[in-house]
């Protein structure tokens, strides 16, 4: 297992439903759902984690599918 931190794009959502809509709208290789990292939110919930270079494309996906999001940040994650 690779234990080196890598920069990742993390997007959070106002609802779990929006997070699930994101998963449904994305295709394989465009990211995955993860628990929200503590760097963003000390609580709980789901976030979308993807390679940073996919940012613009993912914004377009969210706009096309009317998915609202809360935060979009680059974070170093394992």
């Amino acid at each position: 297992m690779d234990r080196t931190k890598q920069p990742k794009l993390v997007i959070t959502f106002p609802t779990t439903t929006a997070a699930m809509a994101m998963e449904a709208a994305c295709q394989a290789g465009q990211g995955r759902l993860i628990p929200i990292p503590r760097e963003i939110n000390g609580g709980c919930g789901l976030a979308w984690c993807a390679e940073p270079q996919l940012g613009d494309m993912l914004l377009q996906v969210m706009a096309e599918n009317n998915i609202s999001y809360q935060e979009k940040r680059i974070i170093s994650l394992y």
Partner: protein
């Protein structure tokens, strides 16, 4: 005893499509908590809820993000009524309502809210002129059923939507008897809140239901608590649909509801409704000629697949018991949680015998039901 014949689908539909039970079994053996983590079991439950929101929203003309799940229509109506209305308001409802509408309204009335109730004519049709007569300056909403659970009479939602729009009122609809059987386009029609249950026409398990909220309308939650989101906030998240879903969702049941709704979408709501209405019409015709049988409701008005009747002055409970014990036929008798409709029809003491059909009923079952009613009525006439 012959095989059971089930004519109580207005209470709970039976049987369900086999996929419903399979889905519940699969869910109960594989699901974690929906919205409660990112591990595979939690995600499986969350995906199921999302798919179910989409399927229900597609069926009733709403959107997944505005479709919240509850335990049943009573739950949904309590949320909508308590979350939108105050003691300062005035509300118009009808005598056709189930107690799931009436009791939450009575509760608010006891706190000072104004409440007016539109009546019906002798055939059970709503007095639509009554809505205008009962309008007050502080009228806030119309809360009404899409179909009477007693007579099956369908409410003209297009009329009410126009009336509400013209007068700046909210329209809260109880679709317990119609969702999954009659086409509903909530957004297009202008319904502000559509409340549904999962265990009737949607063919899902008991303990499932929900409400679809119009875009931009904020409903104050009846319950707050665990949401899986923003745990350190003191205030429950306000974003739909989780705003109205405090506590772990019944994902096992909703898996079954999803299977039920998928069955409806695949089979076609028109196909299901036409079959049910044909069976109801066949039954209605069959019993209408039986001496002593009195049928409630206007046969010329649009109806849900419900036929409600009495035999002479026979206690409806006795009629239902005879149908059950002698013929293995399941019907609903008594007051049907619709006290004002019974008062209006003059059946408070006798109650009424309600036959309600599903697309899984057969013509053979209908004929057996007609014969059973004929025999019980003949016995009653000869007593």
């Amino acid at each position: 005893m012959t095989d059971m014949i089930y004519f109580d689908n207005a209470a709970t539909s039976l049987p369900k499509p086999p996929a419903v039970g399979h889905a519940v079994l699969e869910a109960i053996n594989t699901f974690g908590g929906a919205g409660r983590g990112g591990h595979p079991a939690a995600l499986a439950a969350s995906r199921c809820l999302f798919q179910a929101r989409k399927a229900v929203a597609r069926l009733v003309g709403s959107a997944a993000g505005r479709t919240a799940f509850t335990a049943n229509a009573t739950d949904s109506l309590n949320i909508a009524i308590a979350g939108l209305l105050t003691r300062e308001d005035h509300v118009i409802t009808t005598v056709l309502e189930h107690n799931s509408v009436l009791r939450p309204l009575y509760k608010l009335r006891s706190q000072g809210m104004g409440l007016s109730i539109v009546g019906i004519d002798q055939k059970g049709n709503l007095d639509y002129d009554g809505f205008r007569r009962l309008l007050r300056p502080n009228s806030k909403a119309v809360v009404c059923t899409h179909a009477s659970n007693l007579t099956g009479t369908i409410t003209n939602l297009a009329f009410l939507a126009d009336f509400c729009q013209e007068n700046g009122l909210l329209l809260i609809v109880d679709a317990s008897q119609t969702a999954g059987v009659f086409p509903i386009d909530a957004d297009k029609l202008g319904i502000d809140v559509l409340c549904f249950t999962g265990h009737k026409g949607l063919l899902g398990p008991q303990g499932t239901g929900g409400l679809c909220i119009r875009q931009g309308l904020a409903v104050l939650p009846l319950k707050v608590g665990g949401s899986g989101l923003h745990s350190y906030d003191e205030i429950h998240p306000a974003d739909m649909p989780e705003a109205l879903e405090a506590g772990t969702a019944n994902a096992h049941g909703i898996a079954g509801l999803l299977a039920g709704v998928e069955y409806i979408l695949e089979t076609g709501i028109d196909t299901i409704r036409n079959k049910e209405l044909e069976l109801a019409q066949c039954f209605r015709q069959g019993i209408s000629a039986i001496p002593g049988v009195h049928i409630y409701g206007d046969p010329d008005s649009p109806h849900a697949p419900i036929v409600t009747m009495n035999i002479g002055s026979m206690d409806s409970s006795e009629a239902g018991d005879r149908l059950a014990t002698l013929y293995n036929i399941c019907v609903r008798t008594g007051a049907h949680c619709a006290p004002l409709a019974h008062l209006a029809l003059g059946t408070r003491e006798q109650g009424a015998v309600r036959f309600s059909f599903s697309s899984f009923n057969t013509e053979q079952e209908i004929q057996k039901g007609i014969c059973a009613v004929a025999e019980i009525a003949a016995e009653w006439e000869q007593r």
